[in-house]
Assembly symmetry: C2
Homo-oligomer: 156 residues x 2
DNA sequence: CTTGAATAATGAACATGTTAAGTAAATGGT
DNA sequence: ACCATTTACTTAACATGTTCATTATTCAAG
């Protein structure tokens, strides 16, 4: 009920209607559906992302993995240590370049992904239904287009 | 140099095209434009969000502020302590209810927002240009619709 | 072959995200 | 008025985000 007072038009959009907030809000709502599943299986959202990527690419370096999973290198270092301790991944060094890490999903990790995937896919389907299939597709297209538009001039 | 996408369409990586990843990727690209400005003025993204909300609503409780700034209560407690120590906000207790916090932006905090706003607005405008005004508007509409769709059944 | 610069990954320090537990003040029923 | 419950906020503990520094390896002159 407490309305914001009148103020002369300073050039700032209302916080609720900015792109960063809209993206963050929707992402929080989506992850709120996934988080219980992941925590129920003892992994965090980021650990799951890392293993999902490894499930798809078979073998990558740390830099490549960081790019694909959208995780910064220092965070990834810690996560890899955790996942290795749990036996989900195998860590090594690239034969050609001693600086690069060689990261692979272990059989245990692969089995873990397979066991959780059905629940994850079910939640994703439910979210798709609530949003609407066509609307979700349009949204993903726009997100990809905006992403491309901003990524092009990134190294300005 | 740049990461080449080896796949040519029929073996697309699943992870890359999910809604959570698309939202996270675009948000990271957007915030990469804002972060230098904020860090240049000595505040984090979250501290800025909190002060932006306070700039609009004049006075709120902690719960309300947490909702509006999309920050969890424990994080907000720490952030408020930091902002108070810097003199950006004034903390008190609600006269009617001793549990509720009374949070207001100080004159110093208000002046800070005004001084940074032009840079922030300029970056936001530049982002809008790159994405395209119509495309951005459609995107914000879809985000809001998806948000509403997921928020309705949240307390199922 | 040697040395300085660049690259890949890790370590360090602090801020925030996340969940669970704890504290103090209000509320509701008796 | 009393007491259990609820509410609003805070603490605690650990994982991750973020920036900067450091180490180890490779690369590129010279």
């Amino acid at each position: 009920m407490t309305d914001p007072e009148m103020r002369d038009g300073f050039e700032l959009s209302e916080t609720r209607h900015t792109l960063p907030m809209a993206l963050l809000r929707l992402r929080e709502l989506v992850m709120a559906e996934f988080r219980p599943i992941l925590s129920g299986h003892g992994v965090t959202e980021q650990q799951w992302r890392v293993m999902r990527v490894l499930f798809e690419v078979e073998e990558v370096t740390a830099s490549d993995l960081a790019d694909r999973a959208l995780i910064l290198a220092p965070s990834l270092s810690r996560i890899l240590k955790t996942l290795e301790a749990r036996g989900f991944i195998d860590l090594g060094r690239s034969p050609g370049d001693g600086r690069r890490a060689r990261i692979r999903l272990s059989d245990t990790g692969r089995a873990f992904i397979r066991s959780v995937s059905p629940e994850s896919a079910a939640v994703y389907a439910k979210i798709g239904e609530r949003i609407g299939a066509d609307r979700l597709e349009k949204l993903l297209t726009l997100l990809d287009q905006a992403n491309t538009a901003l990524d092009e001039n990134r190294t300005k």
